[in-house]
Assembly symmetry: C2
């Protein structure tokens, strides 16, 4: 019975490689990849060797209703589709979304999206575009993108962590993406790092990685540390609403002590979470992706240091922490588009 | 390239099923399974349908030197081997051991064993017995045993957690055991649950699951809570060295408040760790195994409660917590013995 089980990823690569090695142009030569995020949604038309030919973006958060979101997505994408030669050139659509379920195509209880409950996203998109749609978790899509075109090329065991509006993760083991029993594996952002720690407004849980290492998390850390600190800091003159990892970075490279402390604190918590992930699935590398990684060594150094400190000996000095080389959002768009080549029709 | 990668577990089951379905008695019809633990080492001679025909046990911890351990293991096992018809009847040996590395057959830096550093255990056993030896992590062996003969029969995504001298785990995803990049995946016991928490004497790290949910951990919790408590308790008259989960259980079923509090505290930490594991790999079930599970609902109820409390909505009320049905240690012996059928020679 074990040999008969569907080997999703193997089959997927089989179809992908088969497709990539074919030089005959068939109907549906492009795939659409959509990276649905808490703030914005990016999309691209991708050819079968991973070039993003056309791309665009709309706001996610301004749409209180999923239907108006789908409408705007269609209106914007149809322009790109026509640029690419019309809908007949498109084989299908792949979507990466927070809490996206690969098995049933639903987004389920995503704390960082405007739409609550269960959203049958794949069905809604399929009905609108009259194209086959495959959905997965946003970080899973990014992991597939990294494995095919990015920093994880050739790796069989790695963890992709997206540090954006939320914190997502995609776990690859034995060369396969881990979907878990129900399609929701890889919610590393919601694991509890500091019991009874900071409240997460979306989930109501305390002390999750996301409540510290997301964009919002870094902002809250900055606000807290500014309030507690009696020392001078460039950050004290910044409006609270403008505080983000970019502003903190600008202060930190000028040597601002408080700004450095914000990265140290964030890296301490991220490093602890990475250590726990390493002791769980023992990856060759952890690929980080997203806004926070732009701070470079300011965040990577403390993250590495605290990861190593929390690892037991057998894991020490083995695991690479890498930053995605792919253009911002391309990993998820490419990964989502790659899902299309395994679609049966 | 992805299709060419070795599908270890699939191949293993192929050989296993092939072997099991064969009615022709061939040379080497039995397998030896060894469960090497921090306190004791259990072993059994197992037939090809999972019956433990002969079994025995020796002390691990009394052997400061690995060589005297191997000698005693041989002396005891050779008696069983002769009972089973002699060494020619044995196909090979499978060993489950803490920090056992499936890829190279070494035990590496096991904090709960008397032997430090890297121990080439598979090689030492192979040289002594003149039989092929396969080694894996003890909890991985138990997970294989549960998947084949126990509570996880037919499951493709589950986590096995052994609550013994140490706390080990074996993670199965997509029907495959997760070994990780270096063979060390599944060290859930060493993940940090309480940052800056209780010191683990073996690893020097603070706040790991093992420092609370192992046999030693429960004992330390009992000692701490007894010292802090001003109320009467049956446990206050127990000698510190005799305190273990059995003694605490006996007091708890008599309604002893402090004893109940020890299980509540342990379950709170175990439940948090399970929640984090669930959000990582989204298993269908978690199978618990070992001494602590004998406390039944006294430990399971708080563990379930705190696991659910820490899960985000999408994971709630989905994941079973099951206790192994297999006879104490049989899971690991059976799982270790199952490794033998995939040996090539």
């Amino acid at each position: 019975m074990y040999l008969e089980q569907p080997q999703f990823v193997a089959v997927f690569f089989y179809f992908l490689i088969k497709h990539m090695s074919s030089n005959i142009a068939t109907e549906g030569v492009y795939a659409i990849g959509i990276d649905l995020g808490g703030t914005g949604t990016k999309f691209g038309i991708v050819d079968n060797v991973g070039n993003v030919l056309f791309s665009g973006e709309i706001s996610t958060k301004k749409h209180a209703q999923i239907n108006t979101f789908i409408d705007e997505l269609y209106d914007q994408l149809i322009i790109l589709i026509n640029n690419a030669g019309g809908i007949d050139k498109i084989k299908g659509i792949g979507v990466g979304a927070p809490n996206g379920n690969f098995y049933n195509g639903n987004i389920e209880y995503a704390p960082n999206l405007p739409w609550k409950g269960i959203i049958p996203l794949a069905e809604l998109v399929a009905n609108k575009f009259k194209l086959p749609v495959t959905l997965t978790n946003d970080a899973n899509a990014a992991a597939i993108g990294e494995m095919m075109y990015g920093a994880a090329k050739g790796m069989k065991d790695f963890i992709m962590i997206t540090l954006g509006t939320g914190v997502g993760s995609g776990i690859v083991a034995n060369g396969q993406l881990i979907y878990g029993h129900d399609g929701f594996a890889g919610e590393l952002g919601h694991t509890i790092v500091i019991p009874d720690g900071r409240m997460h407004a979306g989930t109501g849980k305390r002390g999750s990685l996301e409540s510290y290492a997301s964009a919002t998390g870094v902002r809250l850390t900055a606000i807290e540390l500014i309030e507690q600190s009696k020392e001078d800091s460039l950050l004290k003159s910044v409006d609270k609403n403008s505080l983000d990892s970019k502003v903190v970075y600008d202060a930190a490279i000028k040597g601002d002590k408080l700004a450095l402390e914000i990265f140290e604190f964030t890296g301490k918590i991220l490093g602890l979470a990475l250590a726990n992930a390493v002791m769980f699935s023992s990856p060759e590398a952890i690929i980080l992706f997203g806004g926070l990684t732009k701070a470079g060594d300011l965040i990577l150094k403390p993250t590495r240091k605290y990861m190593e400190e929390n690892l037991i000996q057998v894991f020490q000095n083995k695991v690479k922490i890498l930053v995605s080389h792919l253009k911002e959002s391309d990993a998820a768009i490419l990964g989502a588009s790659a899902l299309v080549w395994e679609q049966k029709n």
